[in-house]
Symmetry: C2
Subunit: 247 residues, 2 copies
Amino acid sequence: MTDSREFLFPAKMLSKAGAGERIACELRMRIISGVIESGAVLSENKLATDFAVSRSPIREALKVLASEKIIRLERMGAVVVGLAEKEIQEIYDVRLLIETFVFERLVRMDTDQLSRELSKILEMMKIAIKYRDADEFALQDVLFHQTIIGSINHSYILMIWDNIKPVMECLILLSMRMRMRKEEEYEDFTRIIKNHEIYIEAIESKDRALMIESLHLNFDDVQVQEKVEDLWRSQQILSKGAVKNND
Amino acid sequence: MTDSREFLFPAKMLSKAGAGERIACELRMRIISGVIESGAVLSENKLATDFAVSRSPIREALKVLASEKIIRLERMGAVVVGLAEKEIQEIYDVRLLIETFVFERLVRMDTDQLSRELSKILEMMKIAIKYRDADEFALQDVLFHQTIIGSINHSYILMIWDNIKPVMECLILLSMRMRMRKEEEYEDFTRIIKNHEIYIEAIESKDRALMIESLHLNFDDVQVQEKVEDLWRSQQILSKGAVKNND
DNA sequence: TCAAGTATACTTGTATACAAGTATTATAGG
DNA sequence: CCTATAATACTTGTATACAAGTATACTTGA
């Protein structure tokens, strides 16, 4: 069994989280990164002993992961579904869907406050790049989109975001960690920053066409494809000592 | 305290459900119907004694309801949010969003199997009307849309549906129960059937324009407004002996 | 009468215990 | 050697127990 003492999920983001949430985040990372392979069967008891907690927080975590569709709760054990290319594309479908919806609302709103907030986050992202802090960069990237989505005060759009956010977070986290390692992909980050700047500009000018363009800059097949590749490479690296099943 | 022995949620739909799910469904009905008023604070211990179960299934139920945004989990107690007109409109926003998305996929698929399934469900709905079985009608109505959404095999669109489905179910359940009581609203049901027939026709002919039309027939402001009114009347009736708070 | 501090009763989060059910394995019989 | 049955070990779901923290209310002092 992989040593439970080394965690993939950044600890700093779990400061005031309970055991259940903590374990959900860690399991999510392990599943999405491929450390826990698709098809594996997780047992509450085994996880409880591995994480050195009782079954209560484990059950909580499994419920969360099941609602995110990355595991499937069955009679005996939770089977890992994981993220293949299909699932990643599907998540981006949903993201595109809701951000388009949000845009339509935004054009009828006062977006001054929002664009200021977004600019602040963008500055943070630049700093994160400067100091090669992949985790911080990913965190701010997620926050950027969450800020946009949250700005229209739509509880059920926010509900959708709540459901895909954790998975997005993991994806971006892993992707950024991979890219930060390599010097030659530095331009990737400047491109991402550029895309986000266009995004803000679109919101400020309420230019629907520009909005669509910036959306597609962010979600293009290319980019998704890159994410998939990043993920694959990440899995290659991490799964050196991966668990096939419950040993 | 309202007697816990009389349940709002149809028992037949909970045949193989655990205590947690059962309680979630019942609480959801009570909240949406207004028996439990918005702003009320629910305590795990109190609910546990009221439902005569332990806190484990209660906790499970509350987590579910929180993910549906009809309650808000806070430090001390779960505060009831409920559904005002705004929230109902928002749920329909989401439903419109995903069904539109599904349609775009459907036009590129073989929909023979699907349209046969839908026809079957429609027949069931007619029978339900004939025998004035509001619960059965509501159940089939929900199943109708779930069948469409599920047909494109998109896990994350299905995830969204999973989240709004229970609330939709309650809304339709309450709305139909109200309408079944009154003879003069009988034409409502024939109109709903008609709408669903158009829906099927649109899918069969893959006529995008007709799809949109049938969508709007189902989700028109009028209809939503009626739903809200139904809900309001339902609340008026049910809340005769409603709980204001924890007594 | 009012303020401050303490005591109490209630809250959630986690751990443990128990019961009912299911897959697996081993054993007995053909 | 293969099949059927029974025993076993593991699974989840629920109940209970305990610990840490928070709001309320009361008491004590001025």
